[in-house]
C-alpha cells in the first residue's frame, strides 16, 4: 500500500490554549488536527486549576516545513509563559497528499 512520509507534530498544552493553538495550526497551513483531553505534569506547575480543565493534546500531520513554522511560533509565543511541550515524529500516511 502506498504511503507518504510526513511529520506528526504533537503539542500538549494547558486546556485554556485550545482555540488559540487551533488558530495557529490553521494559520501555519495545517489541513487538519485531532484533539484529546489529558492530564499531565511537567516542570512548570502553572495550571489554571483542576476546576477549569486540565491539558489538551493536539496532533497534526503536516509537511516538514509547516511543522517547522509551528515549532517556531510555539517557541517564541507560548513556551515562555505557558505550560506546553511539542515534538515531532515521522509517520507514513495513506493518501498523504491530502495533508500537505
Amino acid at each position: 500500500m502506498h504511503t507518504t512520509p510526513l511529520t506528526l507534530l504533537t503539542i500538549v498544552a494547558e486546556a485554556i490554549l485550545k482555540d488559540r493553538l487551533i488558530d495557529e495550526l490553521t494559520r501555519a497551513g495545517s489541513k487538519g488536527y485531532t484533539l484529546f483531553e489529558c492530564e499531565g505534569s511537567g516542570s512548570r506547575h502553572r495550571r489554571v486549576s483542576e476546576l477549569l480543565g486540565a491539558n489538551i493534546k493536539l496532533e497534526t500531520i503536516v509537511s516538514a516545513a509547516v511543522a517547522d513554522k509551528l515549532l517556531e511560533v510555539l517557541a517564541v509565543e507560548y513556551f515562555p509563559q505557558f505550560a506546553v511541550i511539542a515534538y515531532l515524529s515521522p509517520v507514513s500516511v495513506i493518501r498523504g497528499e491530502k495533508y500537505v
Binding site: 494547558e14 485554556i16 506547575h45 502553572r46 495550571r47 489554571v48 486549576s49 483542576e50 476546576l51 477549569l52 480543565g53 517564541v76 509565543e77 513556551f79 515562555p80 509563559q81 505557558f82
Partner: protein, 335 residues
C-alpha cells in the same frame, strides 16, 4: 453572633465544604468527575438566573435604580483598591497585582448563593432582584483590573530597552477578552436565565420549580463538596503564597464586605439584601476571572490568584465572612 456562627457552621453547605477539605487532607482518592462538576455549575447558574428572572418580574424599575448604581460602583472600586493594596503594600509585580485584583473585583456565584441561603435561614430573605446585581458585578471588575495590568505593563516595557530574543507580548486584543467574559458560561446562563425567567413568569415556572428550586440546595451541597476538594488540594500552596496574601485574602474581604453592606443599606436594601451585597463585594471570582487573567496576563502567577481566591477568601467568606456581614447589616439597621 456566636449562635449565628454555629448555625452557619452546621449548615450542609459549610459541612460539605469541610468534608471535601478533610478528604484531601487524609489523601483520599475521592474525586468528583469533572463532568458532574460542570453539570452542577450549569444547573446552579441557570437555576439562579431563572429564579431571579421570575422574581424580577415582580420588581419595579424604580426599586432597582439605586441598588444597580451602588453595585456598579462596587464593581469599579473593588478592583482598584485590591490592585493598590497588592502593588503598594504587598509589593507584587504589576501582572500579579492586576491578576489578583481581577478576581477580587469580580464576584463568586457560589458565595453569593451561600449568602442568599444564609439570610433566608435567618429569616431575613434578600430582595428578589439580587441575581440581577450579580450579573452586573461579574464583568467590570475583571475588565478594569486587566486594563490596569495591560497599561502598566506596556508603560514598564517602554521604560527599558528591549532585550534581544525577548518574547513579544502575546497579542491579545481587549475586544477578545471582553467578548470572552461577556459570553462566558456564567454570564450566558445567569443573564439568559434571568431573561427566560422574566419572560415566562410565575405560572410557567411552576412545573419546573421542583427541579430548579426543590433540588437547588442539595445540588449546591454536592457542589461544595467538590469546592472543598479543590480548595483542599490547594492547601499545600498556602505556604508558597506567603503571609501577606493570607492576610490580604481575609482582611480585604472584610473591608469590601463592610463597604458592600453600607452601600447596600444606603441604597435601600433590606438587612438580608445588604448582607448579600456585602458578601458579593467581599467575594473573589474563581470561575470567570481565572481564564481571563491566564489569557491576558500570562506572566501573572496562577498559584497566587487561584490559592487566594479559592483556598483563602472563599472558605473565609463561607465560614466567617457571611455571618459577619449579616451582623454588621443588622447593627447598621439598628437591630
Amino acid at each position: 453572633m456566636l449562635e449565628v456562627l454555629r448555625i452557619n457552621l452546621c449548615s450542609p453547605l459549610a459541612l460539605a465544604f469541610v468534608l471535601g477539605i478533610v478528604s484531601r487532607l487524609v489523601r483520599s482518592e475521592l474525586s468528583i468527575p469533572r463532568e458532574l462538576y460542570t453539570s452542577l455549575s450549569i444547573y446552579l447558574l441557570l437555576a439562579l438566573g431563572l429564579k431571579g428572572g421570575v422574581e424580577l418580574s415582580h420588581s419595579s424599575l424604580s426599586e432597582l435604580f439605586w441598588p444597580v448604581l451602588v453595585t456598579l460602583g462596587l464593581g469599579i472600586i473593588t478592583p482598584i483598591t485590591s490592585y493598590l493594596v497588592l502593588r503598594r503594600i504587598g509589593r507584587f509585580s504589576t501582572s500579579d497585582a492586576a491578576g489578583i485584583a481581577a478576581h477580587y473585583g469580580s464576584v463568586s456565584a457560589v458565595t453569593f448563593i451561600a449568602s442568599q441561603q444564609f439570610v433566608q435561614t435567618m429569616n431575613y430573605p434578600a430582595e428578589g432582584f439580587m441575581p440581577t446585581l450579580v450579573t452586573l458585578m461579574e464583568s467590570p471588575g475583571i475588565q478594569i483590573a486587566l486594563a490596569i495590568g495591560a497599561i502598566q505593563t506596556a508603560r514598564q516595557a517602554a521604560d527599558r530597552t528591549p532585550e534581544r530574543g525577548e518574547p513579544k507580548p502575546p497579542a491579545r486584543p481587549t475586544s477578545a477578552v471582553l467578548h470572552e467574559v461577556l459570553t462566558g458560561r456564567s454570564m450566558i446562563l445567569m443573564v439568559g436565565g434571568l431573561i427566560v425567567g422574566l419572560l415566562m413568569g410565575e405560572k410557567s415556572y411552576e412545573p419546573v420549580k421542583p427541579f430548579f428550586e426543590g433540588m437547588f440546595k442539595g445540588a449546591l451541597t454536592l457542589f461544595l463538596l467538590e469546592m472543598g476538594l479543590a480548595a483542599g488540594s490547594r492547601l499545600g500552596d498556602l505556604k508558597s503564597v506567603g503571609l501577606f496574601l493570607l492576610g490580604f485574602g481575609t482582611i480585604m474581604p472584610v473591608i469590601h464586605g463592610v463597604l458592600g453592606v453600607v452601600a447596600g443599606h444606603w441604597a435601600g436594601l433590606s438587612i438580608g439584601g445588604a448582607t448579600v451585597l456585602g458578601a458579593m463585594s467581599a467575594s473573589a471570582s474563581y470561575i470567570a476571572a481565572p481564564p481571563a487573567v491566564r489569557m491576558t496576563l500570562p506572566e501573572a502567577n496562577p498559584t497566587y490568584y487561584l490559592t487566594s481566591a479559592l483556598a483563602i477568601t472563599f472558605p473565609f467568606n463561607i465560614v466567617l465572612g457571611i455571618p459577619t456581614y449579616f451582623y454588621i447589616a443588622k447593627t447598621i439597621a439598628g437591630q
